[in-house]
């Protein structure tokens, strides 16, 4: 234990001024402190939190972890404790190549760069491609963790609306044409084609082909982020963008969702000249990713049929997803819509636009349930009435109870709004009022009232908030 040493009492005002003058311009683009303060409360023990993006690591057998790590210690002690090559261990690159092959991609291990998690993959791509003011195209909503990265490289992020088939290609083309006319060219198009975080939708095959066609025609780079592709719970896998055409695609993958987020190992695959720059970028960022983690991964893949574990995770998450979808159908009012993810970790729910989910989070925390307010997934202030719900890191019982609490808060808000807007006879809370006009084909469990159909599926064209123009 070290006691805090005596620090000089410094002048508060001067301190602030001095630091304020030192901060780079890019730090001005920050998430609001209010949202940060709220998110800090979601970590409380009695709060059922759907706000994480967490895989359930409690499914990994501790004895097996011990076994693997002791093998690392006995067989590779000195190397595991040492720096490694920036390009990563060859054995790890080979295993990454295997994982990609499982998704139909044929990749030479030498064209793979292991990174410190998928997050570093995003950071490195931005680092080597973006000058301040450069245009990046992303989906609306986009991965909340990418927003601060894009912003810290001072990108001009333009977000393209999605529907249930993913990014709207017609809107993309209009946007590209507009940029053309302004003499601007996006540095890359960032997309999460499979089980989007946070939107929960998957880019259709037709749109994948169109996206590739557009990239080829316009010689644009696509940055395909695919953390969840192997976690599919229904339907047939679709080819990755990389497997459709690897000339224009930078591909990012990760072990976080199929093995461990704690090992902090992801990877990038890119055309050779881009890869060379990425290696330099990584060298300056952290020299190399953790050797201990890389040896652990090599041991893990040498010891088991890794796909069995992925299958068991998929089975677990599929059940949790189903419980969440059922619970949403039972507890959310008819005014709410949500997506039906075929895989991945997230459901994206959208409430009536008069509900600001950042404020709603304050009420929800009081009722001991939490989520990520939708605004975190936008750079332009949109998303105010949406929320991201994670189902992979929460037990089935917690999901049922958490969504029940959430539903109560939302129904209360819907009823209160009609009171506040002066409706003479406010509608009662809506769960019991759902019509039976919805398609009868929805799978229902005993938990759902017999007349209830998931409204998120009822309206197939409007699973995501409709396009609004970017704030000027």
């Amino acid at each position: 234990m070290t006691a805090p040493g005596p620090r000089q009492t410094r002048s508060a005002a001067h301190e602030i001024e001095r630091y304020a003058a030192l901060f780079a311009d890019r730090t001005k683009v920050m998430k609001s402190s209010a949202m940060r303060d709220l998110m800090a409360l979601t970590a409380r023990e009695d709060v059922i939190s759907f706000s994480g993006g967490l895989p359930d690591t409690s499914t990994f057998p501790p004895g097996f972890f011990t076994e693997l790590m002791s093998r690392v210690a006995s067989e590779s002690c000195a190397k595991a404790l040492q720096y490694g090559p920036t390009e990563g261990l060859e054995s790890v690159r080979e295993r990454i190549s295997d994982v990609m092959a499982a998704e139909g991609m044929d990749v030479d291990p030498d064209s793979i760069l292991p990174t410190s998690g998928g997050q570093q993959a995003i950071d490195l791509v931005c680092k080597i491609l973006l000058n301040p003011g450069d245009v990046v195209i992303a989906e609306a909503p986009t991965y909340p963790g990418a927003v601060p990265t894009f912003c810290s490289y001072e990108a001009d992020v333009i977000q393209i609306t999605m529907d249930r088939d993913g990014m709207k290609i017609d809107e993309l083309e209009t946007t590209l044409a507009r940029l053309d006319s302004e003499g601007r060219r996006p540095k890359f198009i960032y997309t999460i084609p499979n089980f989007h975080n946070p939107a929960g939708v998957t880019l259709s095959l037709e749109r994948r082909r169109e996206l590739i066609r557009i990239a080829a025609e316009r010689e644009l780079l696509i940055f395909e982020d695919n953390p969840y592709g192997l976690l599919r719970y229904e339907g047939e896998p679709l080819p990755t963008l990389y497997s459709l055409d690897n000339d224009f695609v930078i591909y990012a993958g990760t072990f976080s969702k199929i093995l461990s987020a704690g090992v902090r190992i992801g990877w990038l695959v890119a055309p050779p000249p881009v890869l060379a720059k990425l290696v330099l970028g990584k060298g300056s960022a952290d020299l190399c990713s953790s050797s201990i983690s890389q040896y652990f991964i090599a041991e893990y893949f040498a010891s088991v049929a890794w796909q069995d574990y992925v299958r068991s995770l998929s089975e677990l998450y599929r059940r949790r997803r189903d419980v969440m979808l059922d619970a949403l159908a039972e507890h959310l009012p008819r005014e709410a819509t949500w997506t039906h993810p075929e895989g991945g970790l997230f459901v994206w729910a959208t409430l009536p636009d008069y509900i600001d989910t950042t404020d709603l989070l304050a009420r929800a925390i009081e009722e001991r349930v939490a989520f990520v307010p939708g605004r975190a997934a936008y750079v332009d202030g949109r998303g105010g009435s949406s929320m991201r719900l994670n189902f992979s890191g929460v037990t089935e019982d917690e999901i049922r109870e958490g969504i029940r609490r959430l539903g109560e808060v939302v129904r209360e808000q819907v009823a209160l709004y009609s009171t506040l807007s002066g409706e003479v006879s406010p509608r009662p809370a809506a769960a019991s009022k759902r019509t039976s006009a919805a398609p009868a084909s929805q799978a229902e469990t005993s938990a759902a009232p017999p007349h209830a159909a998931p409204p998120g599926q009822r309206d197939n064209t409007n699973v995501l908030p409709l396009t609004r123009k970017r704030a000027g």
Binding site: K28, M35, A40, T419
Partner: protein, 314 residues
Amino acid sequence: MNRVAVLKGGRSLERHVSLKSGARVEEALRRLGHEVLPIDVDIDLVSRLSAAAPEAAFVALHGRGGEDGTVQELLEALGIPYTGSRVSACIRASDKVLAKHAMRDAGIPTPDFFAFSETAFKGLGVAQAVPAITARLSFPLVVKPASQGSALGIKFASSPASVPGALLAAFSYDRKVLLERYVDGRELAISILEQNGEPAALPIVEAVPEQEDFYDFESRYEIGRTRFVCPAELDSELAARAAKVALDAFQLLGCSGFARVDLMLDTSDGELYVLEVNPIPGLTETSLLPQAADAAGIGFDRLIELILAAALPA
């Protein structure tokens, strides 16, 4: 040397800031030679206080439970001397509606307002009076939760259509909200500090927004988004008038020890309006009270020493 419990954290929405304030207070108290007992306030508060038997409690809590008289009431019951305002002043100051009524009655200028509870909307159909209310206050207007806190839940409404949504947001934080006339002007924060039993205004801090986020309260207190000028550039007559108004509000509400009074200076006519009185303002690196004290030549340690001294029995 005293044994001082520092109460911080808790369950309010401002937990995060409170933990930072508390940590900084602890460091200062240690440097001053006190024995420090940090307590992250939770269900076991009474037993921890009873076990520790501190000679005083430094209340570094913000928001609900910590700033509204709740924890102060408990400290009174346990007979532990504590920093800052007494129970009744905390209740008056932390409820903007109570505070604004008191100020209006006493002739301390505060922007016109109307306040209603959720029950009033539900039971009396207050929504139908909203057009009359907005006609009296005129657009844009500000909608706030009554309980004082950070910028959370504070919304501008620029048209009739945006009023219900703004009310809904404010009701997410409190069962009572107020609609307030918007004062267009300069934002001033005046910290009050008691020395030897005499409260006095510290140099005025002005918050100058750097960017065009006029309608975004939440971003105002980010470094880089807002520039704080201390002492504010005001002519001496105006500065003296602002200090007097702030001190009047502090005394009217019965505050003690320290507090921060937030004012608006209407640039069109030079009028000052008190928005609120914060009984336990932030004590973090970027907080305004420490800045103001510093500008008056009172370093952070000395500030903490003075606040504690006001709490200890003479």
